[in-house]
């Protein structure tokens, strides 16, 4: 845990700082490896990468307890890793192997982990919000002081379900933490080209849900906001929204020619790479030395290599199991 020297500028506990850095690097290297595996044809279908947005998942999930719930989207590799699902079953799921975290059935967009209350990769834009409201309703009805964190992108604010979910959560005072990862683009359409009101916290206010916008490229800022928000949601049992302003460094999915944005905008944002800026901060505070960097890098590389080996060795599910897990085939 880290303590606050004075409002706003938290002094950082070394262990925690290195952990945050390590978590972000895990995600970055995992995603980079998936690009390589996709190009080689081992991973198929759609693949939506989290490169550039790592600080949001790493920072926000620190504020949650193992008992809280997470509902995420098809860009959920990072969230799963931070939540604790081992990299092996995640990579195996990308291969479609039976030892994948969803038995290989879901692939990149559909990671699930019941033990860690990770209710998936739900891949229809906005489709997760009503589900999160429901999970929170169940907790309220059963008197459980739990938080349901719902991650979604800026594209989802265009769906009716966004307003319907926020309104219901506010109306029934449900413990939902709405976490919007605003990476400025809904696939190929910039936020300003599809929303008249681009301030997402104002939209939420209109539906009765208080919130704030936070720099999604600063992992400490993300963590700080998330902890305060969880206090409100769990303590006062009512919904809260945080709009993380962040950016994805790669295409929406594999691949698109990115005609919808220009190169220098990407370069500008890359200057604020959450891993690069946080490493500089750690070094400034004397919390990270080259040796630490090297050990973390080695640990991450080993973890990723093991994950690939785990996936490569995984069995394919026998065709006879085709209709298994279907209640009424």
């Amino acid at each position: 845990m880290h303590c606050f020297a004075e409002a706003g500028q938290p002094s950082l506990d070394r262990a925690h700082g290195l952990k945050l850095f390590h978590e972000m690097l895990r995600i970055r290297r995992f995603e980079e490896k998936t690009v390589e595996l996709y190009s080689a044809g081992k991973i198929r279908g759609f693949l939506h990468l989290y490169i550039g947005e790592e600080a949001v998942a790493v920072g926000a999930i620190q504020a949650l307890t193992p008992d809280d719930a997470i509902v995420a989207t098809y860009r959920e590799h990072g969230h799963s890793l931070v939540r604790g699902t081992p990299a092996g079953p995640l990579m195996a799921e990308l291969y479609g192997k039976a030892n994948g975290c969803s038995r290989g059935r879901g692939g990149s967009m559909h990671f699930f982990d019941a033990a860690r209350r990770f209710y998936g990769g739900l891949a229809i834009v906005g489709g997760g919000l009503p589900v999160a409201v429901g999970l929170a309703l169940a907790d309220k009805l059963q008197g459980r002081a739990r938080v349901t964190a719902c991650f979604f992108g800026d594209g989802a604010v265009a769906e009716g379900e966004f307003h319907e979910s926020l309104n219901l959560a506010a109306l029934w005072k449900l413990p939902v933490l709405f976490l919007c990862e605003n990476n400025l683009y809904a696939m190929g359409t910039a936020l300003a080209r599809h929303q008249a009101q681009t301030d997402i916290t104002l939209k939420a206010k209109g539906d009765g849900v208080p919130g704030e916008a936070v720099d999604g490229m600063d992992v400490l800022a993300v963590e700080d906001a998330a902890r305060r928000a969880v206090e409100i949601v769990r303590g006062e049992i009512r919904p809260y929204l945080i709009e993380f302003r962040t950016y994805r460094f790669r295409a929406h999915s594999m691949y698109d020619p990115e005609l919808y944005r220009n190169k220098d905008e990407v370069e500008q944002w890359k200057k604020r790479d959450p891993i690069v800026t946080f490493e500089a901060r750690l070094r400034e505070d004397g919390l990270l030395a080259d040796a630490d960097r090297a050990t973390i890098e080695a640990a991450v590389d080993a973890e990723i290599a093991d994950a690939v080996a785990f996936a490569e060795a995984g069995p394919w599910e026998p065709v006879e199991n085709l209709t298994r897990d279907v209640y009424t085939p």
Binding site: E32, S39, M254
Partner: protein
């Protein structure tokens, strides 16, 4: 040393056109560097290297379209000797080829009512057209069902043609068919003996008048219209049934069901063995010439295996005549659900008393087997007396 291959750049991409190299052979390459541009259906996409090392040589010229996975260049990885180019990634086992899972689950084996034929509507239609008796056809379709091919084969076989239907397997052999018929007859006879309390009455009938009238009549007719005496017997039985209607009935759901119409079934032996008893519809209303023509048609078609199943299904009584085989009297077994059967023996010369004189006369023995639940000996006797009386006035038949 590793191959740099055309990457898979999207869910529906099978090939890509290398547009330009952004690195030249001999140049250093870092992991993540953009080293080429590729055009896909969606536009130009920058391609990065996943290895750090030296770009040894390019294998594909710009503006050439190659399938995903084709080697585009060789990169000598840092600190690795330039050994044989291998794919940069270990190759995992290929997924098992899907066995052709039965996509459409076969419908559950249908339970067919015993005795009911499993025959496709189209096959039933064709059988009617070709005059094929479905009872005699062996089904080769799923679950023993009878298909068009089976009907065509049966018709072909009945006509003696050996036309191998291209798809159909040949119908079952004649032995099979005979066996099936035997089984059907056995089942009927056993049930008859089990359920029907038979009683038997018989009488001897003077055929003199009938036979001489017949000879006279045949002289007047062209050869192919000549009558056989059997026709006189059939008409006599039919007319007699008008006087004793309870013998012209069916036993269904343990009660007697009278039949207004009189359809006399005629027992016909088949060349290959076995027996059928097709009906002559409204026997009592047919003229002797009609009866002869229909009777002849029935026998010919039965022996050619070409009987319409409807003709089998509704005789209200049966006549069997084993006189041909030199038998004097026949005690036949009733065909369920009928309630009576008449048997005629051979015509024989017997001493006969006429006006207290003993003279030779042609006579035959007529026997009635009847269901005692429906009628009793007295009524049976009246019936045979009526037949005898009617045969004495052949011109009124």
């Amino acid at each position: 040393m590793a191959e740099f291959v055309m990457p898979s750049l999207g869910a529906d991409m099978e090939a890509g056109t290398l547009v330009a190299w952004l690195k030249k052979p001999g140049e250093a390459v870092k992991k993540g560097d953009i080293i080429a541009e590729v055009e896909t259906d969606k536009g130009i996409i920058e391609i990065e290297s996943f290895m750090t090392g030296l770009l040894e040589k390019t294998l594909v010229e710009p503006m050439t379209k190659v399938p995903v996975g084709t080697a585009l260049a060789i990169i000598r990885e840092e600190g690795k000797p330039s050994a044989e180019p291998k794919s940069a990634l270990p190759v995992s086992g290929a997924p098992p080829q899907p066995a052709v899972a039965p996509v459409s689950p076969t419908p559950p084996a249908p339970v067919t009512e015993p005795g009911r034929l499993r025959v496709s509507p189209s096959a039933k239609q064709l059988a009617a057209e070709l005059g094929v008796d479905l009872i005699l056809v062996k089904g080769t379709g799923p679950g023993g069902g009878i298909s068009r091919a089976d009907v065509e084969a049966a018709a072909a076989q009945a006509r003696g043609e050996r036309r191998g239907a291209r798809i159909a397997s040949a119908a079952g052999s004649a032995a099979d068919r005979l066996l099936r018929m035997r089984q059907a007859i056995a089942a009927a006879m056993a049930r008859s003996k089990r359920e029907i309390p038979h009683y038997y009455v018989s009488t001897t009938i003077d055929m003199g008048k009938a036979l001489s009238w017949l000879t006279e009549e045949n002289l007047k007719r062209p050869m192919k219209d000549r009558l056989l005496y059997g026709v006189l017997l059939l008409k006599a039985v039919a007319l007699a049934l008008r006087e004793v209607p309870e013998l012209n009935a069916l036993w269904k759901g343990n009660q007697v069901v009278r039949s207004d119409a009189i359809h006399v079934g005629v027992a016909i032996s088949l060349r290959s063995g076995g027996l059928v008893a097709p009906a002559l519809h409204d026997t009592d209303r047919q003229s002797l010439d009609d009866l002869m023509r229909n009777f002849r048609d029935l026998v010919t078609r039965a022996r050619a295996g070409g009987l319409r199943s409807s003709e089998l299904s509704d005789p209200t009584i049966t006549v069997t005549s084993l006189g041909e085989q030199g038998v004097e009297s026949v005690y036949a077994v009733i065909y369920p659900p009928q309630v009576a059967i008449v048997g005629f023996g051979k015509v024989v010369e017997r001493p006969w008393v006429v006006d207290k004189q003993v003279v030779p006369r042609s006579v035959l023995t007529a026997t009635l087997s009847a269901d005692h639940r429906v009628s009793d000996g007295h009524r049976g006797g009246l019936f045979l007396a009526a037949v005898d009386r009617l045969l004495q006035e052949p011109e009124r038949l």
